[in-house]
């Protein structure tokens, strides 16, 4: 048509592009081969420098060439400053080709570190430019940290830098995380006045966008500062059970070191909070006398004393930790008031956004930190909502809720020496903190949603009666070597094969076993098989 501009067809354009590419590839391959052969011969000259530069500027991810380049640079001795500076500006062009090139950033770090008169301000501004283009470029973050360290940028200035980045985009884990490394440097003692402005900052973020995870994670870190859980270290004697972190234990009985074998409660555990040993036969023959036992923990240079009083077969001692401190640390008055006001803010947000999972979870954690028993009802209600709004993670919430329920039940036990532990009908999906229940003789877990008795269950060395009716238990691994266990109630569970009952054979005293309502009872000749597996049992309900 008249006047219409004629344009090359797509095929023409592609043909041209293809030819262009072919030509480029030819040059590239020739240069590469030249480089390799030069390196083989150990030549470190200007030409090699130029060849590698030519290749790297089109493909900055060629690690071998960077290595060769470093070899050449180390070889050069004259005008180091000038050559290295040229190297830096060459690297800049490589970073433009690929801002996430491992090779380029690593090389830049190497060059900067060797530069006789480094210009750190320039490097910082380069990082700023890169981060303004992509605030999550972790290569740049890494390099920046190196620059900051080498040039000694003051911490408060760096904090200001994160202020700036968070201000332009607060969905940025890198900036928040950097902040969490800077704050403790600036204020090692977690001073509340500073934290207040910090709380304000992060609140602004999660009120603006409550679905953004980065702020919530930072918030949890901030709240968690100074709430580290205490590790309690109790000791319990019996046939001899000691609660400790690891092996390296030495037993002294009435002043006499004893040669004993320590073992964990289950062969699966190499690390365990509970260790058992058998006393050599005859070491305590007369229980009419008082005996003093000491366990030395050689690794940590600590020891624990315990007395077995006249006429007793058991004794117990534990750290002086109060019940309140079992699962959380004591809060200072200031910390408590901060947490209270944070809880208020979160509740305010929850009113506006009743279905926000991050807010609900944070509220639960705050309530746990402040008053686990007082807030139990609210906590349970929030867990219910959480499971509904975030059904993908409902199992996680169930497990977390189980943990909190068990903690609360333990807190409610009036004395540590209470021997009966009952936690039925609480929707438990998992068992934990079993190391707190070493003395329990009677445990009631009925009507929960447990699927298994985990190996840790073997810590309940005093257990005589187990009630676990109406669960979904299909695995009894934890019923291992429980030497005092006599009665097991497993009505209406999900035990389906004889092999599942195999662990019970390691418990010598079992007399009564209730298996009604389990699939295993439908097996042929089940009675005969059970009689063979568990000869001690006199009373089996099928």
């Amino acid at each position: 048509q008249h006047g219409r501009v004629k344009i090359k067809s797509t095929a023409q354009q592609e043909e041209e592009k293809r030819k262009e590419r072919e030509k480029k590839l030819k040059i590239y391959i020739a240069a590469r081969d030249a480089c390799f052969s030069k390196r083989k011969e150990g030549i470190c000259d200007d030409e090699a420098l130029q060849l590698t530069q030519q290749l790297l500027s089109s493909n900055p991810d060629f690690a071998t060439l960077w290595n060769y380049r470093r070899e050449i640079l180390m070889h050069l001795e004259d005008e180091v400053q000038k050559i290295y500076e040229a190297e830096l500006s060459f690297l800049e062009s490589c970073l433009k080709v690929n801002p996430k090139s491992y090779g380029s950033w690593h090389h830049r770090g190497w060059v900067s570190a060797r530069l006789p008169q480094p210009d750190w301000a320039r490097e910082l501004s380069l990082c700023d430019r890169c981060l303004s283009l992509d605030d999550r470029n972790f290569h740049c973050w890494d390099y920046r940290r190196m620059v900051v360290k080498m040039s000694g940028v003051p911490v408060d200035q760096e904090l200001g830098f994160t202020d700036h980045l968070i201000g332009s985009n607060f969905s940025n884990y890198s900036s928040w995380h950097y902040r969490s490394t800077l704050l403790p440097l600036l204020h090692p003692e977690s001073p509340e006045p500073l934290c207040l402005s910090e709380y304000e900052l992060v609140q602004n973020a999660f009120f603006t966008d409550p679905n953004d995870q980065s702020a919530w994670f930072y918030y949890r870190w901030l709240l968690g500062r100074g709430i580290t859980k205490l590790v309690t270290c109790g000791a319990l004697f019996l046939s001899l059970v000691f609660q400790a972190q690891s092996v390296g234990l030495l037993l002294v009985l009435d002043g006499q070191p004893q040669r004993v074998e320590w073992r964990s409660v289950h062969p699966r555990f190499k690390h365990s909070p509970v260790w058992i040993c058998d006393l050599p036969p005859g070491t305590i023959s007369d229980i009419t006398n008082e005996h003093n036992l000491t366990v030395h923990w050689t690794e940590k240079h600590t020891h624990r004393d315990c007395a077995l009083y006249t006429g007793r077969t058991e004794s117990y001692c534990r750290d002086s930790a109060t019940d309140q401190e079992l699962f959380r640390s004591e809060l200072s008055v200031e910390k408590t008031s901060v947490l209270q006001s944070e809880l208020q803010s979160c509740n305010q947000l929850q009113e506006l956004e009743p279905l926000n999972k991050w807010c609900l979870l944070t509220i639960i954690l705050l309530m746990r930190a402040l008053d686990p028993l007082g807030y139990e009802k609210e906590t349970l209600a929030h867990f219910q909502t959480l499971k509904e709004v975030d059904s993908m993670r409902s199992a996680y919430y169930s497990d977390l809720c189980s943990k909190f329920m068990i903690e609360n039940t333990i807190l409610k036990m009036e004395y540590a020496e209470v021997r009966v532990f009952s936690i039925s009908d609480k929707n438990l999906t998992t068992l934990c903190h079993l190391d707190q229940l070493l003395l329990v003789t009677h445990i009631n877990l009925s009507s929960n949603q447990l699927q298994r008795l985990p190996p840790q269950f073997a810590m309940l060395q005093c257990l005589e009666v187990l009630e676990a009716d109406n669960n979904n238990i299909e695995n009894l691994e934890g019923l291992f070597c429980l030497s005092k266990l006599e009665e097991i109630n497993l009505k209406n569970n999900n035990i389906s094969t004889l092999a599942d009952l195999q662990p019970l054979a390691s418990c010598p005293k079992i007399k009564r076993l209730d298996l009604r309502g389990n699939p295993v009872t439908q097996m042929a000749k089940i009675e005969a098989e059970l009689a063979e597996l568990l000869p001690s049992v006199t009373d089996i309900l099928l």
Binding site: K6, Q13, F207, T208, D209, Q348, L349
Partner: protein, 535 residues
């Protein structure tokens, strides 16, 4: 340009180089139509133009002078069998009225105070130096003062068209950096993007949550909103229990509508604003460097690259219409008959008034709600010198509103509130006005493309409308293009210069141009510059 005769035959003749006309010109040339594009002024872009300070003074001068009635000539010798003459009469002067400069410009070199670094927020007073009127005139070339104040919505139809057609390569743009509003006697920042809301100091965290939630729900078009359609937007906002702060921001600065706008319109407008956020920055607006007058010129340039013929200071006197009421040809201001299949003309029919005034002072957009009952909503755009529209150290401020009375009556109360003028005697921190011009311009919003008892192949382009964006003009251009060439693609992407095939067999630079080698037709030459382009 040269006094040679124009070719006597074109497909489309376009009179006026306003935005819509220029887009039509580019679109037609791009698909191979022979386009003749004329403008009776010596500058491009008609009422969309940007002027240097001196250029603006000349423009004022012209509008103060009485327009001389054109002598009616007898063109009957050029008529063919069965044709009729329709004279085109221009009423351009009626589209601009109520011109008024402030006293400063009249004075003999008065030394005006200089605006602060950021005029609107009236920050530091450190860099106070004197700029005289004479200096303004002397440095006048550093100004590019728009007649119409508009901003480009970053997802509006203009930006989409610039990108689609590759015309964007002819211009540079800057982001508007902040959205402000005038409230309780103060200028406040309007938090609109996520980062703004996060950083805002004037909002409580609860307000932040409410605002973000409202904005997010706006984007989603929920059913709940559908139920509320029968009330006005301000009441709808009230029902959302957002609080005064947020209602003000949403109504005036984000939706940019009035109290009695229907909810549907308010929500659509809010949605548009939000969708434009984040494409190029934290505000939804772009501004072309060197002023808005650049945009029509960019389209003209595209047209010229594809063979469009350009001629300024050149007009059309009359149309030659056949018995079927179709325009067969035009007679230009030199008495030449030029046949054409379509004729597009800028309308000079004034229907409503809207006002723009200029004041010398970051790129900010400020919404000013009615300062009292009966006053209009004023849209204010403050341009810094990096937009290449004013002298370094000064700011260019445009105030625009739907006029109620004359420009001076409508706008001067706002000016007095926000700036230091000779009328305000208090020497406080507000920025000073160096020079100020008020005028009314006809609103082109209600001009229809066809009708008006015009021949069926003659189309009207309206002048600038009172809205902030450019949608109206672009829509109009598209409509006209579709009427002229219903089968053709509207502004398809222009090819890269290296992909253009030059006619190897022809040695003539304008090969294929019908033997016309007069230099009018420029084809495929990237180097073509618009004569009007500064620098």
């Amino acid at each position: 340009m040269a006094a040679e005769d124009l070719p006597s035959e074109f497909d489309v003749v376009i009179l006026g180089t306003g935005l819509a006309e220029s887009v039509v010109a580019a679109a037609c040339s791009r698909v191979g139509q022979r386009v003749l594009h004329l403008d009776r002024n010596s500058y491009y872009a008609a009422n969309w133009a940007s002027f240097t300070f001196n250029g603006l003074l000349t423009w004022i001068q012209q509008h103060h002078e009485e327009s001389q009635p054109e002598e009616v000539q007898d063109w009957s010798s050029l008529l063919e069998e069965g044709e009729e003459l329709i004279y085109l009469s221009y009423s351009d002067s009626t589209s601009i009225s109520n011109l008024q400069q402030t006293a400063d410009s009249e004075g003999v070199e008065p030394t005006a105070d200089l605006p602060r670094p950021s005029a609107i927020q009236g920050q530091s007073e450190a860099s106070r130096k004197k700029i005289s009127y004479a200096q303004l005139v002397k440095e006048g070339r550093q100004f590019n003062i728009d007649l119409v104040s508009k901003l480009m919505f970053s997802r509006g139809s203009l930006v989409d068209l610039l990108i689609k057609s590759n015309v964007s390569r002819y211009a540079e743009f800057k982001n508007v950096t902040r959205i402000l509003t005038y409230r309780h006697g103060n200028v406040e920042q309007v938090p609109c993007s996520r980062a703004d809301v996060f950083a805002s100091r004037q909002l409580s965290v609860v307000e932040k949550r409410k605002l973000m939630r409202f904005l997010t729900s706006c984007l989603e078009e929920t059913e709940e909103q559908q139920g509320e359609m029968n009330i006005v937007f301000s009441l709808f906002l009230c029902d959302q229990q957002l609080g005064d702060n947020l209602e003000h921001f949403l109504l005036h600065s984000i939706a940019m509508v009035t109290e009695d706008t229907p909810t549907e319109v308010g929500l659509a407008s809010t949605r548009h604003f939000l969708r434009c956020l984040g494409r190029y920055g934290n505000t939804p607006f772009l501004f072309p460097v060197y002023g808005l007058g650049e945009i029509p010129q960019c389209f003209c340039r595209m047209s010229a690259v594809f063979g469009g013929v350009y001629c300024l200071r050149h007009s059309v006197r009359c149309l030659l219409v056949d018995k079927d009421n179709r325009c067969k040809a035009v007679i230009d201001s030199r008495g030449q008959r030029i046949s054409c299949s379509h004729f597009v003309v800028d309308s000079s029919f004034s229907l409503m008034n809207f006002v723009s005034s200029c004041l010398p002072p970051q790129v900010s957009m400020v919404t000013v709600p009615p300062i009292a009952a009966g006053f209009p909503v004023v849209m204010m755009v403050e341009l810094c010198s990096s937009t290449m529209t004013c002298l370094p150290g000064t700011y260019l401020v445009h105030l625009t509103c739907q006029s109620v009375g004359s420009a001076f009556d409508d706008l001067s109360p706002v000016v007095t509130k926000m700036f230091h003028t000779p009328e305000t005697d208090d020497q406080e921190t507000r920025p000073s006005v160096l020079w100020c011009l008020y005028f009314n311009m006809a609103d082109g919003l209600d001009v229809e493309v066809e009708g008006h008892n015009l021949p069926s192949n003659v189309y009207l382009c309206s002048g600038p409308d009172g809205h902030l964006g450019h949608d109206h003009a672009i829509r109009q251009a598209q409509l006209i293009f579709q009427k002229i060439l219903p089968e053709e693609d509207f502004c398809p992407p222009a090819p890269n210069p290296e992909d253009v095939l030059y006619d190897g067999e022809s040695l003539l630079p304008t090969g294929g141009g019908g033997g016309d080698n007069s230099g009018w037709g420029e084809k495929g030459e990237e180097t073509k510059e618009n004569p009007q382009t500064e620098e």
